[in-house]
Amino acid sequence: MQGESVTQLLLEWSDGDKAALDELLPLVYDELHRLANAYLRRERANHTLQPTALVNEAYMRLVEQQHVRWQNRAQFFGIAANLMRQILVDHARQRMAAKRGGPDQHRLSLTQAERVINRAEVDVLALNEALNKLTEFDAQQGRIVELKFFAGLTIEEIVEVLGISHATIEREWKLARAWLRRELSA
């Protein structure tokens, strides 16, 4: 039932029905949320979470593959990647707000304490802004970064999802990464 509706919504959306996306997003979000929890519970020592497994499983569960075109798969992964990006950014914002006031200031993990010394953090908010800028003049690079960094897809998986050659994706990723890094260090 749910599989049907997500499949249907994906098809409607790819046929140009913009409203279908609004219905689709919460369904995908809930499924990702649920899967993440289940994964964390099941995960045991020496069995680390495979980031792509999550998106893939959400796809397998929500979408009836025999009824969709390959483009729908790309769309689905695009949506999942975008949702994960949104979740991270929202959280980073909350954290910033907490830092500015509130009793939670100066809270951080031991891991982070070590990193404060090593200085190897990625500023999610700055990355998000830079990625928005990049997407303005190169939407494809933006998508690649979202899929690779936020959804955790490998280059091979991105080849499948976007239908572009391996070499092109690697080249695009290389430049996008260099540009983002320069933006963030400025």
């Binding site: 949320h33 993440a36 929890n37 994964y39 964390l40 519970r41 995960e43 045991r44 020592a45 680390t48 979470l49 980031p51 792509t52 999550l54 998106v55 994960m84 990006r85 979740i87 991270l88 959280h91 980073a92 954290r95 939670d104 100066h106 809270r107 951080l108 993990s109 031991l110 891991t111 982070q112 304490a113 070590e114 990193r115 404060v116 010394i117 190897a120 953090e121 990625v122 999610v124 990355l127 303005e136 003049f137 190169d138 970064v145 690779k148 960094f149 936020f150 959804a151 955790g152 897809l153 080249r171 290389k174 430049l175 990464r177 260099a178 540009w179 983002l180 890094r181 320069r182 963030l184």
Partner: protein, 458 residues
Amino acid sequence: MTPERWQQVKELFHAALAREPKFRSDFLVKACGADQSLRAEVESLISSHEEEGSFIDSPAFAAAADLLAAEAVELQAEQQFGAYEIVAPIGRGGMGEVYLAADRRLGRKVALKLLPASFTRNTDRLRRFEQEARAASALNHPNILTIYEIGEVAGTHFIATEFIEGETLRQYLRHAQLDADEALRIAVQITDALAAAHTAGIIHRDIKPENIMLRPDGYVKVLDFGLAKLSEAQLTHNSDSEAPTLGLVNTNPGMVMGTVNYMSPEQARGQEVDARTDIWSLGVVLYECVTGREPFAGATPSDTLAHILQNEPPPLALLLPDVSPELERIITKALRKDREERYQVVKDLLLDLKSLKQELEFAAKLERAGAPNLRGASGARGARASQQTDDANAHASARTDELAEARITARVKPALGWMNSGKRWPVLALIVLVVVGLTFGLYKFLGRKQVIPNCETK
């Protein structure tokens, strides 16, 4: 940047990268011609590309998954959670949500703490945490929070503990400035709890005002024994899987474990910790209680860590001109950066704190009794006070002399006083009478003995 311009940049970037580094500059000069800004753009992107480090190479997705899980559990009032019924949320700590709940089986209130999934993923570490937390609770120490149950409901791990009415030391410090007596009263109880735990081989690792509860009746309770171990485990867990993803781990509230302000230098360095780490953290808490400020506070956590590792806190005497020098000595000794120079066992710290506490109480009593009566009535009280002292030897020697003198005065003076009174003549007369009587008797006795032989010889 226009898409057309970007296309130019893209082509030159890849073309330059395809060449050997030494030929790139010449290539770009030729290819860009008069367009200096194009050349600068491509060159800076190439140098960014060649920078060391793992910028965004590892996906953020794993961290995002943790985030989702951490946000997942939120209970509402009247909701059932296993055998418990949620009454109200109490607070959200770095270690998870805490609720006031009712245990219907035993008809009592409990504090229910839900552990973030990111802490409980590793079952081995979870088991070790449980062992340690239970062991601390089993000490049955009046200053250690009692754990009722550690369990799991639908995949969410929880700890049910006794519910303490009152507030945390953090909350208390926000609205109250403690004097030395009160700070010592609290510190002695925390130290007592730690002494018992350390003896049982349990280190707290996260002593801070948030983990100390003050009950209205004056009892102090130390919370969360063993819990720090669980989040430290997180550190190891992450660092042996995918190091680069660590960059995003900090966005996860579940992994937030607290402030760095109470971290010992060895913790800040990520070294193995031992009981002396608790001594340091206790020193920080004591300093803060007495002065109202954190000894190593910096503008950012990294500044704080730098202070902890390198700088001495402002001297106590500078902030509190009439602070007891003994208190300053104790705090300084607890806050030695080299743990070899710190108090080595918490029991020594406990003795010093207790002695100082008693000394201050004694001084306060003396002050109340009034100094002029020192040799009189208050002397006896002083003597009794000193007998109650469980570690009398720790008193400063001057104080001991004073007490000894007071004790002599108290015991001998009444006898002398009586002798010096007007009743002394009848006593002397009685003594003279006894002596005379005895002499007379002896004389009669010896005399008779001598007479008899004389009679026989007659």
